[in-house]
Symmetry: C2
């Protein structure tokens, strides 16, 4: 269906809704993709949404799966806890676990009480894992098959199993002890002769991950091997699978976090949807960072104050303050970006940390020399003072070298201590480098003060 | 297979290679996943790689598909153009087209001359699309089925078709005119009774994209609908499909670009693998940006120079220069980050641009007032000069408001003019805001100069 036709469908749907034409609404709504159903529903007023109460639990479960928590919250409140419990039973267990994990203890207990006991056990099992671990991402709706079956047996069995599983594209093969022995893709199954034994066509090279693995690492593995699903194992037994659509979401989420932190924002999940929060809420979230940096800015001021005698004697030195701090911040941000991205993409694996530092140190030397020479000439010509040019040039050269190193070493140290280096964000490195630049600049200028006057 | 076992396998493989035990090498190598095969091969010396020449074209084609262009280049040179042509015939047509597109005109012409004519036509068809468009991402190895067939017919046919297709998980249903009419997932096919007509089980809600669509938009669609593959159509006929693994790569690539540009790096593809280039090459790539910013830093100097009389009269004003420029830069970077990320994720769709600006302006006012009050008190107490405190506070308040707006409006304007706003990178906004901050600060200080002395 083209985008135009889709737009027509939406308009027809809104008209039917305005007319309160229930059968027509149902018919048109069913033609939408689940994602669009969810978006459509959220754009309605609570009164307009009233009609959708009468939809089946399965239908509403699908829609709930597509929504973010704050949107789910709105629907839950409209539907009531009893109906929510019924709908949750129809949801993918991983999505149900995520939703219940976000709710208040009291609310989730109430919902669990209304749910089927077996469902509750299954969901609680998933809820014990950290949200950003492999266990937190996985679903328990996967398909296992005994290694003694034939391809034909399985194709027949699949008719019943496939509709319930999260993905039917990989079948996991287990032995008599129910240990994971291999994997068979649906495609391989179909291509195989019906009387071939599963054992003979399965791949034994099944890559699996432990439930504790961090979601970022999981995403990396799925990306490099181009898997559509990845089994999670515990003591050789398969306990769940992670599907590619969840990994795509993880990639987006982790990236947003990195970008926000580099930009000096907290990167918390709430902030990721910042554009929908109020100006006051946003300001409140950004002010702590800025206030911290305000104090560092004052520290930079105290450095200048210490050199006030130099500055009063050679007032023109003030003219180069913004250039010096600006360049120190910029080169530091460049190094920081390369290092943070390199760490995220795992580019430094295999290479030693010192190799990375040595390389960036080399970059710092080249950058320092090139810019130092340029600014020496400019300062000489502009201010007509060769000695001033030499002092500015030397200061910039050393500052750029040190600032590049700081932009490299600080995130690497944070990473060693298991602190997310993206927290050493752009503004932080910039401000540290301001202090470094000013100290170097005024120290050198003070040393040569007599020649400058 | 666990990570430990995998490591053992790799070690055994290296031993076999050292012993020149060809059959053992082949056996162990075949147990590796394609991605690991490719990595293993690239870690060897050209002499060690000699043995792998004797592998089948299919085997080498798979490996070549996993590699980046600079690595492919190395293998191609070792294998020679004739063998390369044979291997390219076995590669996915989209990967073959990408590789041939990177080669020199002369080389690719030579390879085409050595290839099967039909292969050449197929690949050239793919090469006509922009690299970062839907057409550039798609493969022509998809499966179409006539709408008149039954589920059983198709399952039988698939035995022959599936091995050749890039993905067999979606089957595209066409009518007598070969126009795309619907889609059937492999899972739905298996669940269906064998004598059901395809027409009756297919989904007519097939979302498709035109070949010209930008890859970022394609990724967005696949992400929101959780598709594993997406058909590309031209005049209602399917010309290719895009698979999820390519989209995951696009997401990573586009993100890296955004992050690099925010960090003041060029974000060109070569830069994305910067950590493997030499210090001198990296420095050369970063210097243009820094040199540009050096000149802006000098412009900031000329602003200060214009106010030299003020500065000589009230030398203590210099103490607050780094704080003023630093804060202006930081708040601008925060706004920039929110706006660039919002644009990338399509968060502003539906809302007007002015709504975003109004909100950020609100943020700027709150941030300005809060920080302005704090710095007024600090400056008063520290320097024992109430008037100085008032001037600093007022300047910071106005600067933060203007700087927040600049960090919002500049990327939005760039986006309107179809310039990637991530190019208005962190360093750029920071430097513009330095100029704004200094001008406001010294203008206000000069106005109140007599009261300050």
């Amino acid at each position: 269906m083209s985008a135009d036709k889709y737009q027509d469908l939406l308009e027809e749907l809104i008209e039917a809704l305005d007319r309160q034409d229930k059968p027509k609404v149902k018919e048109l709504f069913d033609e939408l993709h689940t994602y669009d159903k969810a978006q459509f529903l959220m754009d309605l007023t609570p009164e307009q949404r009233e009609m959708f109460r009468h939809f089946s639990d399965e239908n509403l479960a699908e829609i709930l799966e597509e929504l973010e928590y704050d949107e789910q919250r709105i629907l839950i409140e409209e539907l009531g806890l009893k109906r929510t419990a019924e709908i949750l039973e129809e949801m993918s267990s991983d999505d149900a676990a995520d939703l219940l994990g976000e709710l208040e203890e009291k609310e989730s207990a109430e919902i669990f009480a209304l749910m089927d006991d077996q469902e509750e056990v299954d969901i609680r099992k998933l809820m014990q894992y950290e949200e950003d671990s492999a266990g937190g991402l996985m679903t328990d709706e996967f398909i296992t098959i005994p290694d003694t079956y034939t391809a034909g047996d399985i194709l027949n069995k699949l008719r019943n199993l496939a509709p319930k599983a999260e993905t039917a594209y990989y079948l996991y093969v287990t032995d008599v002890h129910l240990n994971l022995r291999g994997v068979l893709s649906l495609r391989e199954l179909i291509v195989a002769e019906p009387d071939t034994k599963v054992e003979d066509i399965m791949s034994e090279r099944v890559v699996s991950v432990p439930a504790e693995m961090d979601q970022e690492e999981v995403a990396e593995i799925m990306e490099k091997y181009d898997f559509l699903a990845l089994p999670v194992v515990k003591e050789e037994k398969i306990v769940g699978i992670i599907t590619i659509d969840d990994v795509v979401d993880v990639l987006q989420e982790e990236t947003s976090e990195d970008i926000y932190r580099l930009g000096g924002l907290s990167g918390s999940e709430a902030e990721l949807r910042e554009s929908s929060s109020s100006a006051f809420q946003s300001a409140k979230k950004r002010i702590p960072w800025l206030a911290g940096l305000l104090f560092v800015g004052i520290m930079a001021g105290t450095i200048i104050e210490q050199f006030e005698a130099t500055l009063e004697a050679v007032a023109v030195l003030a003219v180069f303050i913004p250039m010096m701090t600006g360049m120190a911040g910029n080169t530091g941000t460049q190094s920081l970006t390369v290092v943070v991205r390199g760490l995220t993409l795992g580019e430094f694996e295999g290479k030693g940390i010192f190799q990375v530092i040595r390389r960036e140190a080399g970059v710092g030397i080249f950058i320092g020399i090139a810019n130092g020479i340029v600014i020496t000439i400019i300062a000489m010509v502009w201010q007509g003072n060769p000695m001033l040019g030499a002092v500015i040039g030397m200061s910039l050269m050393i500052t750029l070298f040190v600032a590049t190193l700081a932009g490299t070493v600080i995130p690497l140290i944070m990473d060693k201590f298991k602190i997310d280096p993206a927290v050493a964000s752009g503004p932080f490195i910039t401000t540290v480098n301001d202090l470094i630049g000013l100290t170097i600049y005024f120290s050198i200028a003070t040393y040569f003060m007599e020649q400058l006057m």
